[in-house]
Structures are given as C-alpha cells and as structure tokens.
Symmetry: C2
Subunit: 245 residues, 2 copies
C-alpha cells in the first residue's frame, strides 16, 4: 500500500544492533504516548509490538517490562483517551451557565469530537466496548445535567446510555466514510483520469426498480454521510428532544 518509507529507523539502522538503551528510558507513560501516536497515525492494523518498540528506539521485549502484553496496552490507551476527553469547561468564564439540555449537547459534541479525532479508538471500542463507567468525567457530568433536567434516576441512566450509543455509532460511521473516501481516491488516482464511460446507471450498481427510494435518495444519503459533524448534530438534537421532552 505505502511506498518503502520506514517510519522509525532506516533499514541500515535496523540491521546493525542498536546502541543499548539507558537503564530507565521506558515507563508506562512513554509507552502510552507512543501507542496513541502510532495508533492514530498508522491505524490499528499497523499497531504492532515491534513497530511500537521501534518507535520508542528500544528492543521489542523492553515494552513487556511495563505492560503484560498488547491487550493491556490497548486497555490503557482506551482508558486514557476516554478519561482525557476535552470537555467544555464546567463554569464558562464570561457567559451564563447554560441550561441542562445545552450542557448535555456540549458534552456529547465533545465526546464525538474525541472519537472523530482518534479514529483508532473506535476500533478499540468495537473490540471491547467500554463499561459505561469508563467515560468517567463525561458520564459524571452528563448524568448530573440529565438529573438537573428533571429526569428520574432510571431515565437518566437510560438517556445517558442512549446518548453514548448514538455518539459511538455516529463516529463509527464518519470514520468509515473517511476511510472509504481515501481508498476511493487512491483507486481513482491509480486508474488515471480516463473514466468517461464509467457509472452506467445506479450509483452503486443498485437496480433502481428494486430499490427506488434508496436509489432516488442517494445524493441526500451521501450528503448525510459526507458532513459527519452536521449529521451528528441533527441526530443529537432529535434524540435530546425525545429524551428530554
């Protein structure tokens, strides 16, 4: 897929043995920094213990001194990212404190942004979805706002769950469409600019007689997927209306 770019050290470097790393070059934090970076840059498939170690300038097995294995690293990355979400400040400096509905909206937006900025986290969430209580700060503040909005305890828990589920699903969609768009651009670049006879009828080869509405609404559906953020906000508004009345 990529050309022969070596991300860490050159092939020549990798051949001769690296100068031995100082005794305490590594710690959990440095490993996690590199893991998040590698995951976001290269994607989950390229997230390899060997690649991670190379990025740290260290032998592969050095990482095992600080983590029991790849799974523990993945768990730690997930916990860190979910905990570090850039949430809106609790007390806005200048303006009024927003109403509970507006605060829930802002919190969800922040969660969506986090997932959109770190597409690889989605892969981790899919492989091992969070406990619900792993969003900690996000959960705490969202639940508080939902209760303040007048919801009962059960209703608040249920609403929080629904909001989180929707947010993850929407982010998943956006990440997928981004990936697909990149793949398509790559394909078209490879095929060259000579496609005059392409696309005979249905945009995806779908029979328009069997799926009239689907084919007819294709442009609108493409729009909805294209601008993930705007689409997310529309859905979020609808969900909030249904949840808060």
């Amino acid at each position: 897929m990529t050309t022969s770019s070596s991300p860490g050290r050159s092939a020549a470097d990798r051949t001769r043995p690296r100068t031995r790393a100082p005794r305490n070059t590594l710690n959990r934090e440095r490993v996690l920094d590199a893991a998040v970076d590698l995951l976001d840059r290269a994607g989950p498939d390229a997230f390899t213990m060997r690649a991670l170690a190379e990025r740290l300038g260290v032998a592969t097995m050095a990482v095992y001194s600080h983590f029991s294995g790849k799974d523990e690293i993945i768990d730690a990355v997930r916990v860190r990212l979910l905990a570090e979400a850039d949430l809106p400040s609790r007390r806005p400096e200048g303006g009024e404190r927003p109403g509970p509905r507006e605060e829930v909206r802002e919190l969800c937006r922040a969660a969506y942004r986090l997932l959109a900025d770190h597409p690889s986290v989605l892969h981790l969430l899919a492989a091992r979805p969070p406990d619900g209580d792993e969003f900690t700060l996000f959960a705490e503040r969202t639940l508080e706002a939902l209760l303040r909005a007048g919801l009962e305890r059960r209703e608040a828990a249920s609403a929080y769950t629904a909001l989180t589920q929707f947010t993850v699903g929407a982010a998943l969609w956006a990440a997928g469409s981004r990936k697909r768009r990149a793949a398509q651009a790559c394909r078209e670049a490879g095929a060259g600019p000579g496609g005059g006879t392409a696309r005979p009828a249905g945009p995806a080869g779908l029979p328009a007689d069997r799926y009239p509405h689907l084919v007819g609404l294709m442009p609108e559906l493409a729009d909805a997927v294209r601008d993930g953020t705007a689409q997310y906000e529309r859905g979020l508004d609808a969900l909030l209306t249904g949840l808060l009345g």
Copy 2:
C-alpha cells in the same frame, strides 16, 4: 483460553494427509456458510483462513480458488448478512397495515436483532463501516416509510442515517457487555467461591467523591446495559419522537 478441543478434525487426522477432496467440493456459497458459522461461533479472533479451511475439510489454499483473500471473504459475509436481514413482512397477513412510525420501529428492531444475533458482524462493521446503501432492503423500506411519514427528502436521508447509527451503536454496546459478562463469569469461576472481602467501596473502584452521580447511578446504568433490547427500544422511541415529531 479454551481447553484442547479441536473444532474440526482431531490432531491425529491433521497429522496424516487428508484424502484429496473431490474436484468441486468448494464454491463461494459453501465458503460463506462456513465463514458465517465460524465467525459467530468462535469470534473474529479465531476467524482464520486455516480454521476456515479445516472446517471445510480442505487445504488452506483451496479457499483462494474462490476468493482473492481474507478481506474479500469478510466483505462478502458483511454484504450477505446485511442483505439477508429478517425484515418484518411488508403486508401483514391478518391485521391492518401499521402506520409509518410503527413500520420504522419494526424495521429498526429487525436490524438490531440481526446485529445482536451475529455479534461478529459488528466487528466487521467497525473495521469497515457499511456504505449506508449496503443495508439495501432495510434502507429501501425505512426510507419509504420515512417519506410516507411526511419527511422531506433531506430529512428522510438524515433520519435514516441517525437511526442506523444509533442501532449499530446500541448493538455494539450489547455485544460488549455480553462479552464482558462472559469474561467475568470465567474469572469468578477461576477464583472460586471465596470472595467475601472483595469490593471495598465503589463498584469499579471509582472514587465516590469525584464521581458522585456516576457512582450513585451505577445500579441503574448496569440495568440499562444488562437488558440491551429494552434499552434499545427506549432509545429508539426517543429518537423516533425527535425525528418524526
């Protein structure tokens, strides 16, 4: 993790060369049958070209005569499952035709059930989310009902997208909680029934002073995750209310 159960042939069988398979034992359909079965039974991690071939009673490379590789098989599995969703019949035999809102509800329920029954599809969806137009029949009928409910073209496309996003997110949550519950049961069985001193304070070790609402609502949150279907329906109703007014 598992005991030494060999899913396909015994270790002795695997040692001596298998009797050569007849010329046309394999075809795309048989491969996909086995793939879906293996995926649902053993999970995505155990979904291996070697395991798949063994289940088919065939050498590993035989599969490559019908599929270009693992990715193509995964794509085909996803398309097949999404296309084969067990949707509610278009014309109910006895009763009245339901209103558009009720029909959308039933369609979404069917989609959720499909994802819940095939948890591994979720992994595939996460790795390469669908085009939106891969749900074909589901999309066609949902879009039709949304238009019938009075939505504009853009609104219908947006609403369909939101419903699908929410459905995938909710199914993801349910699958995750199921997996986690199984893992926990396994862990407890291993530890034996001697846990009298466990769980000192917060259910997950969360500081109750930092996360009062989250800790306080833990039972309700656990309930919301426990019965995935009921939780999904509550969220779906809220979303529909917001979308259809």
